[in-house]
């Protein structure tokens, strides 16, 4: 529960001839977490992939490329599961068959896209010419006259006049520039060109010699439409083709990938001329079967006591807590030797969440929402997240009962919306608005409990890794500091309740003194005097738990505000008010629920990550990732 | 053999030629052996150089790959394309035992810094090294080319010499020796004929 699955380090040694069969077995067993051989030292080298790897790689790359054209959303359930023997026979021919079928179509698509791009270019040429309004016949085909057609920054009329009087100029505005056509005698052409260039002239090469630009444009538009239709059709065809072959393609991809993984196993192994060694970790409980099965391949499986001991972390949590592994791992993966905080988080997270939101109405909505969404989003991550939401929803309902809140209305007490008998009841946990100071004290108590747990884990982690001396100097001292803080707060509260000046001496303050002294001595010894300042950090950590109340108050505040606006200000004002009131109510609570998922979720997470984990959790572990995989689109005959 | 004039003059000439041929044969044999030895030496060198070239090719490819990765494909490729300088070289001749072999006088293809085709500030030393590696590779290729030509020529020459030696040994000398034998045989026969004839004339003269 708090510890990950126990691992043993194993070493598989054998002659190279048996590598292939060993790889088969290892992949099938799917339990060995392989430690890659670095290949830096000495006699043993990283192995070279088996010969088939090259061919398989080519197929796999092609297949995945083809598959990338299918948009597979989330979780796809195959209609047909292919058997391995069936696949390995047809793999080669099928891949090239699929490739040629689809490639020709993709090529066609590329051609059409190219053509479309050229049409767009041509259209861009023609549009300014249409603006100019001269028919194409006039723009070329002269013997003694040169025509300049192009864009220009400003009207060249006067400047050309300086050079020659014998010319004709047409001009039109086009997209913040001018289109111009200048007709001059050949003799003056060079001078005019110079003048034009000075004005930033850019030539337009006239695409057609006769007909009309408008007609050409229409023609191009028509062609474009046709091409686009064709493009759509081709895309649909590809999709149809792929959907039709999808199961086969997925199966082939899986099959080839698995074969490839086996062929590339040597890259993780150390090999010499005749032998190979694979080093890795196996869960202790599976070791015996693993050894038996693997040794059928005439290789030796040894349990080693290597000095490099970095086992991967395989979570071992009850299924209730499983979804919370997502939250643990998004902080970091615990090291093998560390306490896995998942179960603790599974306990506290919903409590914090519920404490903050604490409303029967919102809780019920959250439960419904999570159940509904979990039918839509099937991926593992979403499922975990929605399960966490469900737990939080349940907790919200329970705390809602405790606080006596329903959509911000009070259920119990003299303002109860239920009226009657309920007006005499008191909410078990108190009313959050009126009993805020009381609840503040509760949150501080929660803080001390939660963080104490963190320190206890911390003491255990450090003791395990560096010995008890370090554990006492680095973690136990802070645990005492925490207790002293608890005493100080107690003293503070006692004085306040008694109505005497807060800092006047009492029993709790005195109790804190020896703890503080012990803490100070240990800290100076273990970490140095610089770290004494961290006492303040710990204090701020403690106060940080006040957010349990603060976020809740904000949520209640919103709800009450919306209710007040709707019921007391709008609804009494007739039918329009009624409608506006209902809208305000729905909208307000909708926003509040959104915030109610987001904020308590994040804050609860934060309390775990920042205040709790930092006390003990270093992380940086390796996730247990055994060699092999669970087949989905293919099946193996026994 | 019939066309040979079996005269003493001819015999003397032939004898001289046989002597010369035998000496030539010995000389050619020595030359052949010498050439083979030379060939072996150069072959050794060639092996080394070719090995070096392959190595340089490998390293040039390495450098290139890394430069492409570090400085961008475009930069590296365009530098390759912009390298207009063709390797220039002049062919001179060297005499190995009367065999003329080419010596390729290489101009180093290494470029001057000021002839770079890429900015220094925006690139890394990888691109320098890739360029340098390729320049060295060109050098190495030229060296190999040179050795290869030499080897080819040597092989041809060795073949030729071997053919000549064989021709002398198995054909020319035995032929000449046979002719000489024939001539001397004929000459002896002619001598004998003459003696017989002279004896007959003597006898006739004695009768009359």
């Amino acid at each position: 529960m708090l510890k990950p699955v126990e691992m043993v380090k194993v070493c598989i040694v054998g002659p190279k001839d048996y590598f292939k069969s060993t790889a088969e077995t290892l992949h099938r067993l799917n339990v060995l977490h392989i430690e890659d051989y670095s290949g830096e030292e000495g006699y043993f080298q990283i192995g070279a992939p088996l010969d088939e790897a090259s061919k398989l790689s080519r197929f796999v790359v092609t297949l995945r490329s083809l598959l990338s054209y299918v948009k597979l959303d989330g979780v796809y359930e195959p209609k047909k599961v292919y058997s391995v023997s069936e696949l390995s026979q047809v793999a080669e021919s099928k891949v090239s068959e699929l490739e040629s079928m689809i490639t020709s179509k993709i090529d066609e698509i590329r051609d059409i896209e190219d053509r479309l791009r050229r049409i767009a270019d041509e259209k861009r040429l023609i549009e300014p010419l249409i603006a100019l309004g001269l028919p194409p016949e006039l723009l070329s085909g002269y013997k003694n006259i040169t025509v300049f057609v192009g864009f220009i920054r400003s009207d060249p009329l006067e400047r050309i006049m300086d050079v020659t009087k014998d010319f004709e100029r047409f001009i039109a505005e086009f997209e913040r520039e001018y289109v111009v056509a200048v007709f001059v005698k050949n003799e003056a052409a060079n001078d005019v060109l110079r003048v034009l260039q000075e004005l930033g002239w850019r030539e337009i090469s006239v695409p057609i010699k006769e007909g009309s630009f408008q007609d050409k444009l229409v023609e191009l538009d028509r062609e474009e439409v046709e091409l686009r239709e064709k493009l759509e059709k081709l895309r649909a065809e590809i999709e149809a083709l792929e959907m039709e072959n999808l199961d086969l393609m997925l199966a082939l991809e899986e099959h080839l990938s698995i074969e490839l993984e086996k062929c590339e196993l040597p890259l993780k192994a150390a090999t010499s001329k005749y032998a190979f060694i694979i080093v890795g970790y196996v869960p202790k409980e599976k070791f015996e079967t693993f050894k038996q099965e693997t040794e059928k391949n005439k290789v030796v499986v040894l349990e080693t006591k290597d000095d490099v001991w970095k086992p991967p972390t395989a979570f071992k949590n009850p299924s209730v807590a499983k979804p919370f592994e997502l939250l643990t791992t998004s902080f970091s993966i615990p090291k093998y030797t560390e306490v896995d905080p998942t179960t603790v988080m599974a306990f506290f997270f919903p409590i914090f969440f519920g404490f903050m939101l604490g409303d029967i109405g919102y809780g019920v909505i959250l439960i419904g929402l999570s159940l509904w969404l979990s039918r839509i989003f099937k991926t593992e991550g979403w499922q975990s997240l929605l399960r966490i939401l469900l737990y939080s929803g349940i907790s919200t309902v329970i705390f809602g009962l405790g606080f006596g809140e329903f959509f911000g209305f009070e259920l119990f007490g003299h303002e109860s919306i239920l009226g009657g008998e309920f007006e005499h009841w008191e909410p078990i946990l108190g009313n959050r608005l009126y009993d805020a100071p009381k609840l503040l004290v509760v949150t501080l108590a929660v803080a001390v409990i939660h963080m104490s747990l963190g320190f206890i884990f911390g003491i255990r982690n450090v003791a395990k890794e560096h010995g008890w001396k370090h554990a006492i100097e680095e973690k136990f001292n802070w645990f005492m500091a925490l207790i002293s803080i608890a005493f100080i707060i107690t003293g503070f509260i006692m004085n306040t309740l008694a109505g005497i000046p807060v800092f006047s001496l009492n029993f709790a303050y005195i109790a804190a003194v020896p703890l503080i002294l012990a803490w100070a001595v240990l800290t100076v010894m273990g970490e140095g005097p610089m770290f004494l300042i961290e006492y303040l950090t710990l204090l701020s950590n403690t106060i940080s738990y006040a957010r349990l109340l603060a976020v809740g108050l904000a949520s209640v505040g919103f709800a009450i505000a919306f209710n007040k606006i709707a019921f007391e200000m709008l609804m009494p004002a007739g039918i329009v008010g009624l409608i506006a009131g209902i809208i305000i109510l729905a909208l307000g609570h909708f926003i509040n629920i959104l915030l109610g998922i987001l904020d308590p979720g994040l804050q609860s997470l934060r309390l775990h990550y920042v205040e709790f984990f930092v006390k003990f959790f270093e992380g940086g572990g390796i996730r247990y990732n055994p060699f092999g995989r669970i087949r989905k689109y293919t099946k193996e005959e026994v | 053999m019939a066309e040979v004039q079996p005269t003493r003059m001819e015999l003397i000439k032939l004898r001289r030629r046989i002597k010369m041929a035998t000496r030539g044969h010995a000389l050619l044999k020595m030359k052949r052996d010498g050439l083979i030895m030379e060939f072996r030496d150069i072959l050794e060198e060639a092996k080394e150089v070719i090995g070096g070239m392959v190595e340089k090719y490998e390293s040039a490819r390495e450098r290139l790959a890394i430069a492409m990765a570090a400085d961008g494909v475009i930069a590296v490729k365009s530098i390759a394309l912009s390298c207009h300088t063709e390797p220039s070289f002049t062919i001179k001749k060297k005499n190995i035992m009367g065999v003329v072999v080419p010596v390729i006088k290489r101009e180093k293809v290494r470029k001057r810094v000021s002839e770079r085709d890429y900015g220094v500030i925006g690139t890394t030393a990888r691109i320098d090294e890739a360029v340098a590696a390729y320049e060295e590779l060109v050098d190495a290729i030229l060296e190999v080319a040179e050795l290869e030509t030499t080897l080819k020529r040597l092989i041809e020459e060795i073949e030729k010499t071997k053919r000549r030696v064989n021709a002398l040994e198995y054909r020319v000398i035995p032929d000449m020796e046979a002719t000489a034998k024939y001539i001397s045989f004929r000459l002896e026969e002619m001598d004998r004929e003459n003696i017989v004839r002279l004896k007959k004339i003597k006898a006739k003269m004695a009768k009359t």
Partner: protein, 346 residues
């Protein structure tokens, strides 16, 4: 008190971007993974990237490309997107400085486009090298690449302060000189900012130190190839931190051995004091690593400043370069050691 004043000016602006950048830095490829990557082949590297921060890019491109092309495209695209994202998520002074820094990619893109045009590379290949993160957007570059000639490309920039440099290119200035001029222009435009606030001062100091690194690399590279002083001097970027123009001139006049010795006393000396005999590309790797480490440690000293952002941008660029070298090395079948030597693993 000075600290208090600094924090109280516009802390939220910095806090936001720095926090984001810090998280992004954490997601850079860890150094241990390079050992694994070195054992993979090109397709496996692509797949590794598909499972990392490069997923989106690989997925988008893998239907079409594979192997080296895929990795090349994905890396450039990811770098562009990462940088654009930095601009998108910052505002005020941080944004201003980030934009200024990223303008280097405008020049990088421009150089590549001009080269591509000059040597006739296919458009796709040029596109794969573009890092769209500076002043201009994708649309602009597309239009630029579609232009017929280099003259047309140059004409687009008429009126820009660096237009004269482009104009020179058209008038047959060697490509090498043109590129160096552009880079020098970039650094000059940065160092000419007047350091009004403390943030600007940090930024400038960073740039000046980067210039030092550039300059010493340039000097060493050119010296190794036997360049003369007057060949080196035009390639020196003015405005260095310690390695100012006159110092560079003095160093350039020395023999290589003497030069190496006189580097003692420069802030970057520690990077290379033991490795003087190694090939230059290795020495560059040491420089880059030391520079990155320096920037990272400085960014820890000044957490609410531009330095963490700059350090991330630097590390990201190093990562992309590393991955590209790795992938290309693997695709070309280079030996593992040769690849590892070229990686800057911070």
């Amino acid at each position: 008190m000075a600290l208090l004043r600094r924090i109280s000016t516009k802390p939220a602006e910095w806090a936001y971007i720095v926090a984001r950048v810090r998280v992004m830095s954490r997601k850079l490829i860890p150094r241990e993974d390079y050992n694994k990557l070195l054992n993979m082949d090109i397709h496996e590297i692509a797949r590794y990237l598909e499972e990392s921060e490069y997923k989106r890019e690989i997925d988008e491109l893998a239907y079409k490309y594979s192997g080296m092309d895929l990795v090349d495209y994905a890396l450039s695209l990811n770098l562009s997107r990462t940088y654009s994202k930095l601009i998108r998520i910052s505002k005020g002074v941080p944004r201003q400085l980030i934009v200024q820094y990223l303008r280097r990619y405008d020049f990088w893109n421009l150089k590549n486009i001009i080269r591509g045009k000059m040597f006739g590379f296919p458009r796709e290949e040029v596109e794969a090298t573009l890092v769209i993160a500076g002043e201009y957007d994708e649309q602009f570059y597309r239009a630029l690449m579609a232009k017929e000639t280099i003259e047309d490309i140059v004409k687009t920039f008429e009126g820009k302060p660096f237009y004269p440099i482009l104009d020179k290119l058209v008038k047959a200035c060697p490509l090498a000189e043109f590129e160096d001029e552009l880079d020098k222009f970039y650094y000059q435009s940065l160092t000419s900012i007047s350091p009004e606030t403390i943030d600007m001062k940090y930024f400038l100091e960073f740039i000046r130190m980067e210039i030092d690194i550039k300059n010493i690399k340039t000097i060493l590279r050119l010296k190794t190839e036997g360049a003369e002083m007057d060949e080196i001097v035009p390639k020196i970027v003015p405005g260095g931190y310690q390695l100012k123009e006159d110092v560079a001139r003095r160093l350039a006049a020395m023999e290589l051995d003497e030069l190496m010795k006189s580097l003692e006393g420069f802030w970057f000396h520690e990077a290379i004091k033991d490795v003087l005999r190694e090939p230059l590309s290795r020495i560059e790797v040491y420089f880059d690593r030391m520079w990155a480490q320096k920037v990272v440690s400085k960014s820890h000293h000044f957490p609410l400043s531009i330095l963490p952002v700059l350090s991330y941008m630097l590390l990201k660029k190093i990562e992309v370069d590393n991955l590209r070298i790795l992938a290309r090395g693997k695709a070309e079948g280079l030996p593992t050691e040769a690849i590892k030597e070229q990686l800057v693993i911070v």
